[in-house]
């Protein structure tokens, strides 16, 4: 049976189907001219691209954590020769990152309503948070109490922190570019999809911090 309706279907069925899909069958043609020219979430390619990158980077984080515990299982002392990282900046920055999900969520909502002013405002708010958490991340590195070349423990801590910080920086840059674009133009519908999927990526960067935070700050104390 045809998916798109042929002569044998009732007129009512066809109307319902067509209203949903916004496509018209005319003889041998299926007319798609009235379909939307962009869509959010899993309807867009950008979502699939972003999710693919998240899968790749999530795997890299998971493997780095595996390496951490693998080497820890071979060590007599952990940390091997240094005190664990000081807690204060890690805690403060985790709070900042978690709170940054709020302007991020608002930017996503504004994008899905195609509200250019809202996108401008909330992306700018996100960038303020970016500035704060990048500065605090600097303080975090200062408070790690270990260098990457001190011992294998130090190498792992720097690897985890480095991987995550790399994501903070790239996401900040992506957001900056989008924010500037929304002020200067040119804008079309799919740019709102870009904002929405950039927000999805932001969630990923924040939420993937939580296991990394736990490992870097609490595994040496456990």
């Amino acid at each position: 049976m045809s998916l798109f309706g042929d002569g044998t279907q009732s007129a009512a069925m066809r109307r319902r189907q067509d209203a949903r899909a916004r496509v018209r069958v005319e003889g041998e043609a299926l007319d798609v001219a009235d379909l939307p020219s962009f869509g959010f979430s899993h309807r867009s390619l950008m979502w699939w691209g972003t999710v693919g990158l998240m899968a790749i980077e999530g795997t890299a984080f998971a493997l780095a954590i595996f390496a951490y515990f693998y080497l820890r299982s071979h060590a007599n002392r952990w940390p091997m020769s240094t005190p664990p990282p000081a807690l204060i900046w890690g805690i403060v920055n985790t709070v900042v990152l978690l709170v940054s999900m709020w302007p991020n969520h608002m930017a996503k909502r504004a994008a899905e309503k195609l509200d250019r002013g809202g996108v401008q405002m909330w992306l700018s708010a996100c960038l303020l948070f970016s500035f704060v958490f990048l500065v605090f991340r600097w303080f975090e590195f200062e408070a790690l109490n270990v260098r990457w070349d001190t011992d294998a423990y130090g190498s792992l801590v720097w690897m985890l922190m480095g991987l995550h910080t790399f994501h903070l920086i790239t996401d900040t840059w992506d957001t900056t570019v989008l924010d500037v674009l929304f002020f200067t133009g040119p804008i079309e519908g799919k740019r709102y999809v870009d904002v929405s999927e950039n927000a999805l990526y932001w969630y990923f960067v924040v939420l993937s911090w939580l296991p990394i935070y736990a490992v870097v700050y609490w595994a040496p104390r456990g």
Binding site: D6, L45, G49, I56, D149, D151, M159, V177
Partner: protein
């Protein structure tokens, strides 16, 4: 939001008018001139370059192999010294695995997948171009280093501590580690492209259970790539930081561990065998139905077998590490998993046999290569089962038995189907058939040469010849078998030469192919050969698994897509119902510039860690310029805009 200009420009009719055909050709063509060549984003242009480049590396890797066989042809040969020999086998393995086998499969997918699923492009066409350039530059970097006598020399899996700073000083292994960064960047991006393309760009009606099996193979491979390749990138990044900035990941003196490298490498390395093998199975499943002249037997079982293989492939990595001090119970698990992989493999082999058995065979060159698969792969699979058992593995570990096994599996499982695939799709790509006569010579020389070269290696391994030795003394008694193996290598070299001649000559002198020279059933054969720039003048509507073999129904094709901008139809993931129209970007030079900037960063970081900092500035600039929309493009898109 700027209001959409009204009324929208009209889309194509079914069938398209002549004016619309011309407009489509103009719209989807890459720009002329050499700048246009660098700016190309059409998946067919990029796909062809990708395939040719990967075969270029195949030939280079083959020349290195021939040099090794020349050196080993007789005992105590003085032709090549140990230092060069170490570079040769490292470069050979690295080239074949990282610069040929995995990329060539992705390259075939870049060319073929859109044609097979009824799309005008791959998803993210600019990223596709970027992935190609990064791959090319990474491979060139490795070969330039090799020609300057800084070629890697610690084996293609670069075990530490040998590959670490203490035992491999100098820059050789740094180039190897950065080669990984290049090729895996490219491979991971291609994986994302394939997944997005297959999920969202299929023609209406091509539900998940109607996708051609080659596309299934590439989809499953792409998922495996996304979860396995990060492991080798992490491992090689840790290696290069150990070497350059004094980290201690693999340094036991400071709490590191050499086995960590083996775990991370083989967690990638074993699935990698299946990145190479599953596309090979996809070629088989495309060629067999066409030359048996019937639909494939057991489609659903084939798809499930592919997926099962992919899952099992992640539970095999430790069988590369049976010679290490891992717990014996753990090894038993990996033995069982390794043997289990025989089940889905057998399901597919029986389905192909059933298809061939009940079909009417058409013995052309592509089918010959496919039939050779059965002989060679089954032999390789048998030695695989032997190696999966720990006691036997310990006996022949690091001997020529393993070399024989892996070449039987990889050449039988992937390279023979790949050659068949080139003979099969060449007429689609160029519009002309390759010579059957040369094809038969190519095939028989390859088949005989392969067995003559690699079968004696089983014997050599069982008689204790270790791999990676640059020479051996006469009293070991390995001389005759080595001489025979070298003779086989010569036959393979001649056969590959004939292949190159055939490819080159047939471009001009081959028989014109027409749209469907083999009488095949899948969509890529529905258009003229070579395909027009837009692939499909009107996107087809699919009513079955082998659309060209089945009766036509209305509706036949999609109307209403733009002819004057690069508009594609997105469909739903499971049912392939029309979902939305998206405007794709135009050609641009920025992915090329971005790849150059990336190359500067990667190569620079071998010499100073600060390159990661200053090198990222040009990368960021190039990537931003690549993204930044042109006002003319945006207004063309706005003219077609329809909000959800």
């Amino acid at each position: 939001m700027q209001p959409a200009a009204a009324p929208r420009t009209p889309g194509n009719a079914v069938p398209p008018t002549d004016a619309q055909r011309r407009a489509l050709e103009r719209t989807w063509s890459d720009p002329p001139g050499w700048v246009g060549w660098l700016a190309a984003v059409n998946h067919k242009a990029i796909g062809k370059r990708f395939i040719v480049t990967a075969f270029g590396f195949f030939v280079a890797g083959g020349v290195l192999a021939a040099l090794m066989r020349l050196q080993l042809a007789k005992p105590e040969n003085k032709l090549i010294g140990p230092d060069l020999y170490n570079q040769l086998f490292t470069m050979h393995g690295t080239t074949m695995m990282f610069l040929f086998a995995v990329p060539v499969m992705q390259a075939m997918a870049v060319y073929l997948v859109p044609l097979m699923i009824g799309s005008r492009s791959v998803a993210f066409p600019r990223m596709n171009a970027y992935a190609y350039w990064v791959f090319l530059f990474g491979g060139l970097m490795l070969y330039i280093a090799f020609l300057l006598n800084i070629g890697p020399d610690a084996g293609w899996f670069a075990y530490v501590p040998l590959a670490g700073p203490d035992y491999s000083p100098g820059k050789r292994m740094d180039f190897w580690a950065q080669m990984i960064t290049f090729t895996e960047t490219s491979g991971l991006l291609e994986a994302v492209i394939v997944v997005a393309t297959v999920f969202k760009l299929r023609a209406p009606g091509m539900t998940l259970n109607r996708i051609p099996l080659f596309v299934w193979g590439m989809l499953v491979t792409a998922f495996m790539v996304m979860f396995a390749m990060p492991s080798v990138m992490l491992a090689s990044t840790a290696l290069i930081t150990d070497r350059l900035v004094g980290t201690h990941f693999y340094n036991p003196a400071e709490g590191g561990d050499a086995l960590l490298w083996q775990h991370l490498f083989w967690f990638f390395g074993h699935p990698e065998v299946y990145f190479i093998f599953l596309p090979g199975l996809g070629f088989m499943s495309s060629i067999i139905p066409t030359f048996a002249r019937r639909p494939i037997f057991g489609y659903t079982a084939m798809v499930l077998a592919l997926i099962a293989t992919a899952f099992l492939a992640f539970g095999l990595w430790v069988h590369h590490m049976f010679a290490t001090n891992l717990p014996e119970l753990g090894k038993s698990f990996f033995t069982a998993a390794s043997m289990m992989i025989a089940i889905p493999s057998a399901v597919q082999i029986f389905c192909w046999i059933a298809t061939l058995w009940t079909g009417k065979l058409n013995f052309k060159t592509p089918l010959l290569f496919v039939l050779a698969f059965f002989f060679i792969l089954v032999l390789g699979g048998m030695t695989g089962l032997m190696l999966a058992s720990v006691p036997l593995d310990l006996q022949v570990h690091d001997t020529y038995f393993v070399v024989a096994h892996l070449h039987y599996v990889l050449i039988g499982g992937a390279v023979f189907p790949l050659f068949g695939a080139i003979y099969y799709w060449y007429p689609k790509i160029t519009g002309r058939l390759m010579s059957e006569r040369l094809g038969r010579w190519n095939f028989w020389l390859f088949f005989i040469g392969f067995n003559v070269a690699f079968f004696p290696m089983h014997w050599l391994g069982l008689h204790g010849m270790p791999r990676r030795v640059y020479t051996y003394s006469a009293e070991m008694g390995w001389g005759t078998m080595n001489a025979i193996a070298s003779l086989g290598a010569l036959l393979i070299a001649i056969s590959v030469l004939l292949f190159i001649v055939n490819v080159w000559r047939s471009r001009r002198h081959g028989e014109p192919a027409g749209a469907d020279p083999w009488g095949a059933g899948t969509l890529e054969w529905s258009m003229p050969s070579p395909p027009p720039a837009c692939n499909f003048e009107a996107i087809p509507i699919v009513h079955g698994r082998d659309p060209l073999w089945e009766p036509q129904h209305d509706p036949k094709a999609v109307a209403g897509l733009a002819v004057d901008s690069r508009e594609v139809l997105l469909t739903t993931v499971l049912d392939a119902k029309p979902d939305n129209r998206e405007s794709f970007p135009n050609p641009t030079i920025w992915p090329f510039v971005g790849a150059i900037a990336t190359t500067v960063l990667f190569v620079g970081s071998i010499f100073t860690p600060w390159a990661v900092v200053w090198g990222s500035v040009p990368v960021a600039i190039a990537l931003t310029a690549w993204f930044w929309p042109r006002p003319t493009d945006t207004s063309a898109h706005l003219a077609r805009e329809q909000q959800p």
